[in-house]
Symmetry: C2
Subunit: 426 residues, 2 copies
């Protein structure tokens, strides 16, 4: 009975575990710091108050409960001893015959960690709810104030990073301010909200074709988003941002400009690329240890074309399944194969009813692309949640402009504040 340890319950880890579930001679332990698997492509919906966290996450042990040979533990893995074949976690040590590291990526501020409090990024559920809190609170504060300069600052939203995440966030904010919230306020005209999408490169969505990126630009502008290409942020603080000698006063700044691999593998035996991702061989194992694999956003896998695969969900899913299949081939005495990513295309949404879809040479946009995006995401979401009508509900309220999760949930419960006059900062 071989013991496989999987560190990380995201797309790669979950898919690897499912493929090993029920296999003879294999015992799996999956460890994750959280108890839930998060469907990250929809996390921006939580940040934009369209969904609740529970709509896009599910407890890992529930998803794997049917497999008797899989055990799920919630804990933090702190280090890996490649020689001894053990992982060390906050609850103890475990020995492995095979190890799969798939802990994902974390945001990077390119050496400016001090920017983070002012410009949260979007990787975890608490970040998403913090963003939601800041967003909605900005409108509430603008409703209360008479200071017109302060009001303008409160109704200015800056999104840094012109990739799909930034585009989706900016489009959602633009749409929220011009449609969803327009009716709800008396003192402010939510349509006067400034939404700026800052991109350092020459255009947004560099991974898409120029034509589709141009279409996305126009759709964003229809939602009131101003796009600033060729703009490199030089400073972020509590007042706003600086781009060279330009200054913008903004109360809400979101960071969607860069990620790096988590630091678990910062040790001997792991070769890292410049983004802190672990360089892997053709079969996704690390050099010198054929029984240790890395997959998903934490891995740096270079195809024959010479460019590393991007940190996106389809790559993680395919790599997770591949590692599981590789382990099973090992146990069956079959030779290993090389991983080959099957590119099924990419998509990005702009607001509630537009999107761009690119599959090889097939490119389309507009409402039909958005329906495609919705169907694909429902498929993958339902595939594990089996709650189709939760998603239908979201789609319905989404279409009627009523955002379903517009709660500013006050920050963490403060012990001892049973008095009514605790002043929670907005």
């Amino acid at each position: 009975m071989k013991h496989v340890i999987i560190v990380g319950g995201g797309f790669a880890g979950l898919n690897a575990a499912k493929k090993l579930g029920g296999a003879a001679d294999v015992r799996v332990t999956l460890v994750d710091r959280q108890n839930y698997h998060l469907f990250q492509p929809l996390l921006y919906q939580v940040a934009m108050a369209g969904l609740s966290p529970a709509d896009i996450a599910a407890p890992i042990r529930s998803l794997l409960a049917r497999y008797e040979n899989i055990s799920v533990l919630q804990g933090t893995v702190q280090s890996v001893d490649l020689q001894a074949g053990t992982v060390s976690a906050d609850f103890g040590s475990l020995e492995f015959d095979y190890l799969l590291l798939c802990c994902g990526a974390v945001p990077t501020y390119f050496g400016h960690a001090e920017w983070e409090p002012y410009a949260p990024s979007l990787k975890t559920v608490p970040q998403a709810t913090e963003i939601r809190r800041r967003l909605l609170s900005a409108f509430e504060a603008a409703e209360r104030t008479d200071d017109s300069e302060r009001r303008r600052q409160l109704l200015t939203f800056v999104v840094i990073g012109g990739g799909p995440t930034g585009v989706e966030l900016a489009g959602a904010i633009g749409e929220m301010s011009r449609f969803t919230l327009a009716r709800d306020f008396r003192n402010i005209d939510a349509k006067l909200t400034r939404v700026m999408l800052i991109e350092a490169g020459p255009r947004i969505l560099p991974s898409f074709s120029e034509r589709l990126a141009g279409r996305a630009t126009r759709d964003l502008e229809k939602l009131g988003v101003q796009i600033w290409p060729n703009s490199f942020v030089t400073r972020i603080d509590e007042n706003g941002i600086e781009i060279g000698s330009e200054r913008i006063r903004a109360a809400t700044i979101l960071w969607a400009a860069g990620v790096r691999g988590v630091e678990l593998a910062q040790q001997d035996g792991f070769e890292l690329d410049r983004q802190g991702r672990v360089v892997v061989n053709g079969d996704l194992s690390i050099e010198g240890h054929a029984n240790v694999f890395v997959a998903g956003d934490q891995a740096s896998f270079t195809q024959r074309t010479g460019k590393p695969l991007p940190g996106i969900a389809p790559v993680a899913m395919q790599q997770g399944r591949f590692v599981a299949a590789t382990i099973l081939r090992d146990l069956a005495g079959k030779p290993r194969q090389a991983f080959r990513f099957v590119d099924r295309g990419q998509m990005a949404t702009i607001g509630r009813s537009r999107a761009i879809v690119e599959i090889g040479k097939l490119r389309f946009c507009g409402w039909f692309a958005w329906v495609t995006w919705l169907v694909v995401h429902i498929y993958f979401l339902v595939g594990f949640k089996n709650r189709l009508f939760v998603v239908l509900n979201w789609a319905w309220s989404y279409m009627t402009f009523r955002r379903g999760a517009r709660l500013i949930v006050e920050r963490e419960w403060q012990f001892g504040k049973t008095k009514s006059d605790d002043k929670e900062p907005i």
Copy 2:
């Protein structure tokens, strides 16, 4: 044009505002510390991982958006100047012609505020998610440990307070441990969980008839809940509780044993009862100021029978509507009437399919009572949310034992923790 200020967007405040909405000659400003109205009867479902906060809350300004004469501000009212006719909030001062205070109640620990960190109560959304976190984390930690004494402590849950809230919490924990989670763990037998309901009085549910309370007791015991009447808690700390010379080691303790009125009205001009609630006249105004009203959990209104009305949702709803009607009568030159509470009964659930219902002399229990409970709550929930199939979804997953919101969402996002090795305490 008279200006009515409503402080608090709960059942009383929301119903008062709706009744004043659209009325000529009346301008309403509703102030609440949160931006949402919370359907508190279902808050225990959030704590028990059955619902998400957004399922039982809605933004106040959305609920009132259709009334042009109502303005909603999110902020904290700090004091009331009865002579000057103004309220002072963290965003400025407002003058009123009429004032309605309905800020609700907060938990009381009967002089032992130091118990609160160990025994959270259930009044707000962050408390509910904190309880959910502790509950699910206890099972996760028990799964990880080999120390059998520690495991027993982790699988011991104490609920203090035998009223409807305590009964609903205890029943839900018992059911969760024996049914929902039973399949999901490998190392622990969730059915060995100890759930204790501690009540200082001679029996649980003192506001119900003895027969129904007896039925509830038996239903709870079928779910594995041990009921401890005549038990007065003398100490709560990180190890567990003490009842006189008895000691119980428990990792999770919940407080459902007492509330008091919020302290906004701790000043001259407001007469308070022993629970800190404001004593009001027959028309819900305070003595000496006919234009200042208090309603809901914050008010102490004594009926002819001599006992103050309890702090329950139907009382708050009826009082809120009554105050609005009284103001309108004033403006129409009509004389005031006395408030009379129409008691439409009470109910409490025990687990997912049983309840007790008492309406006057009509008493029933079991599954049919639970359906009644469900229909009543859907009615009041839908009455403002208009998302019937969200609730149907909940009812469906509820019936199939799959609790819909079993996420241990990590505590507040910590700035600067972009490293992967931050150790979030469980």
